[in-house]
């Protein structure tokens, strides 16, 4: 994952609430076994029917509960592959939010009023370190978990970090009563 510090540029707007991951990347495109190449299928039905139009700008402003539904990481892969680097919305679905942070697609939660201001400004600058979104309408602060922020700023691999703690996992496993939970060995 590449480090993210500042994301700056034009803003695309998708003014809809409860956008689900089935719309972001429909199921027929989940059959690929690679991580790349999903961008051309982003919002496949909505874009092709002309129901919405979207420019591949660095920033996407969306409605509340963005990314609800299926846990498919293909959704953030498609958004990133399309060209988005940050998604700004009043709220996100839990799994989607987490998936974004794992691949370095920055989810930014701002209240509805500020999301609208960023959308209207048309351009913005997001600073991960300062936790601010700056646009013509002002400077808005956003919250992000410190460890997520640290990982994004440094482009760190989650698994690498956890494996530095492998002794703690070993100790945890050794300390558990045998047979406390089942394993597939019984099958």
């Amino acid at each position: 994952m590449r480090p993210i510090d500042v994301i700056e540029g034009k803003v695309s707007v998708l003014d809809r609430h409860d956008v689900d991951t089935d719309q972001i990347i429909p199921k027929q495109f989940l059959k690929r076994v690679e991580r790349t190449g999903f961008g051309e299928f982003l919002f496949y039905d909505w874009l092709r029917s002309g129901e919405i139009s979207l420019e591949p700008n660095p920033i996407l402003v969306a409605g509340r509960n963005f990314g609800c539904g299926s846990s498919r990481e293909h959704a953030p892969w498609a958004l990133e592959d399309f060209g988005f680097e940050a998604i700004v919305a009043p709220s996100f679905a839990d799994i989607f939010y987490s998936n974004c942070t794992k691949i370095g697609l920055l989810p930014v939660e701002l209240d509805e009023k500020h999301c609208r201001a960023v959308a209207e400004a048309g351009e913005a600058r997001i600073d991960v370190d300062d936790q601010t979104v700056t646009c013509a309408a002002g400077v808005f602060e956003f919250a992000i978990e410190p460890d997520v922020q640290h990982r994004l700023l440094n482009g760190l691999d989650d698994i690498g970090i956890t494996l530095e703690n492998v002794a703690a996992i070993d100790r945890f496993e050794a300390g558990r009563a045998t047979g406390a939970t089942p394993t597939t060995k019984a099958l």
Binding site: P26, N65, E73, A93, N99, T184, A186
Partner: protein, 461 residues
């Protein structure tokens, strides 16, 4: 200090701050190939293959195709074959196409007894919340996290908040667990549970069977909840006992499990009360599970909604669904009926649906199919003769898989078709591009197949 069930399970699995040990990792073909690739590229192994279990479900045809190599669709075949290769290479037990234990991942876990109270369970699938019905902490994860769990048997996880939904009274006759959860989501909205691990409680929950509890926990994610949970009790223990992976020292296990329920006086971040006795059979009218109404009601009028955003999304949903405001739900006529999915494809669901159609014929305007959740469900149902009842009524009787819940296999709606479905999502295009989904219980779906329109099953005989 009194603790919630969630807090007990969480603290027992915390390896370090924010690092959770995972007891059981379920794997399927769609969200795992990139994770196994990641392991290979980094030269990593699966840390605990014996805590990992795989099956093929999303892509499999339900027409009796006996092996992965025989799947007609090229991309689906590659995905299932890739799963088979990955499981072989990394030493993971797999029930693929052709195995008598193959089935929907959230059906086979409980069926084999690997799903047990007090565990942490994850899977690259949002409906992993199903397993919370056993008093486990179970939730869906993305592919990067699948790779993380494969490599470390742990998950980096922010502790969610807790919510308890308490149901007063009992469900009325003809009202099912599916109606209970649809009514709940209708009230709270699709984002109403975001950020929370949700415990369902009260007499209406305690009197549910395990399949009923699984239906409720399954759809937690449709309310945005991180996990759904129900306290384990005698019903739970009875289900687990005697299954393939049940604990050998069963009594000792039950003694541990009895410690799990939320202590009296434990606090939740949010508490909600719902009158179970007031719930009716439900039908969705729109394009998310929160857009739902009682079968005795009618299609809502967007103009009567308070918020502009709600008006707009309701109007868009009605255009997609081709429905007019004010139409009674009992005048809505599906031409397809799907009984299946991780929400409602267990033997009990099929028994309930079969009882509705026994001795009757489906309407000439309807094509209906029943897709058992697993090969074992199918075998049991056939021993009981349920397949004969369905076939005689005009239903197709299929092989196990996710089938028409998400249309990644040949079972899909064609553009404009309207479907009464026992699945979990009525999103645009979910069951096929342009397909129109109405979520209902198995009983409601069965009755709709016979009548060719939705009926209030409480008055239907």
């Amino acid at each position: 200090m009194p603790q919630t069930m969630f807090d007990k399970i969480w603290s027992e699995h915390e390896v370090a701050d924010g690092l959770l040990y995972i007891d059981l990792h379920l794997v399927h073909e769609v969200t795992s190939p990139q994770a196994f690739d990641g392991l290979r590229m980094a030269g990593r192994k699966v840390r605990r293959p014996e805590r990992t279990l795989a099956t093929a479900d999303h892509n499999v045809p339900t027409d009796g195709t006996k092996a992965a190599q025989l799947i007609a669709d090229h991309l689906s075949r590659v995905q299932v074959e890739t799963l088979e290769r990955n499981c072989e290479e990394f030493g993971i037990r797999l029930y693929s196409l052709g195995s008598d234990r193959q089935g929907i991942v959230h059906v086979i876990g409980p069926e084999l007894g690997v799903t047990q109270p007090g565990m942490t369970i994850v899977c690259g699938d949002s409906h992993t919340s199903t397993h919370g019905a056993f008093g486990a902490l179970a939730f869906g994860i993305g592919t990067s996290e699948v790779e993380h769990v494969l490599a470390t048997q742990c998950l980096v996880q922010k502790k969610p908040k807790t919510m308890r939904i308490s149901y007063a009274g009992e469900l009325g006759p003809g009202v099912t667990p599916k109606d209970l959860i649809l009514a709940t989501i209708g009230r709270l909205g699709t984002g109403g549970m975001v950020g929370h691990a949700v415990e369902y409680a009260g007499p209406a929950i305690e009197s549910l069977s395990m399949p009923g509890r699984m239906t409720v926990c399954n759809m937690t994610i449709e309310g945005g909840g991180r996990a759904g949970m129900i306290a384990p009790d005698e019903t739970t223990f009875e289900w687990v006992q005697g299954r393939a992976a049940a604990p050998q020292e069963f009594d000792a296990a039950v003694k541990r499990w009895r410690q799990l329920p939320t202590d009296p006086g434990a606090g939740f971040d949010a508490e909600i009360e719902i009158d179970a006795a007031g719930i009716s059979p439900m039908v969705t009218w729109g394009t998310n599970p929160g857009m739902v109404v009682e079968v005795t009601g009618s299609v809502p009028d967007p103009a009567e909604m308070d918020l502009p955003a709600d008006r707009e999304s309701a109007a868009r949903a009605l255009a997609y669904m081709d429905l007019e405001p004010g139409t009674p739900m009992t005048e809505v006529a599906p031409e397809r009926v799907f009984i299946g999915s991780c929400t409602n494809s267990r033997v009990e669901d099929l028994r309930e649906a079969a009882a509705m159609v026994d001795g009757r014929k489906i309407a000439s305007s309807v094509r209906a199919m029943v897709v058992p959740g697993s090969q074992q469900v199918k075998a049991t149902a056939e021993e009981e003769g349920l397949d004969d009842i369905f076939r005689a009524a005009g239903f197709e009787w299929r092989e196990a898989g996710c089938s028409m819940c998400l249309g990644m296999n040949p079972d899909i709606l064609i553009e404009g078709e309207r479907c009464a479905s026992t699945s979990n999502r009525n999103f645009e295009g979910r069951q096929g591009k342009g397909g129109r989904t109405h979520l209902v219980s198995p009983k409601m779906a069965a009755a709709a197949a016979i009548e060719g329109r939705f009926v209030d099953i409480r008055e239907w005989a």
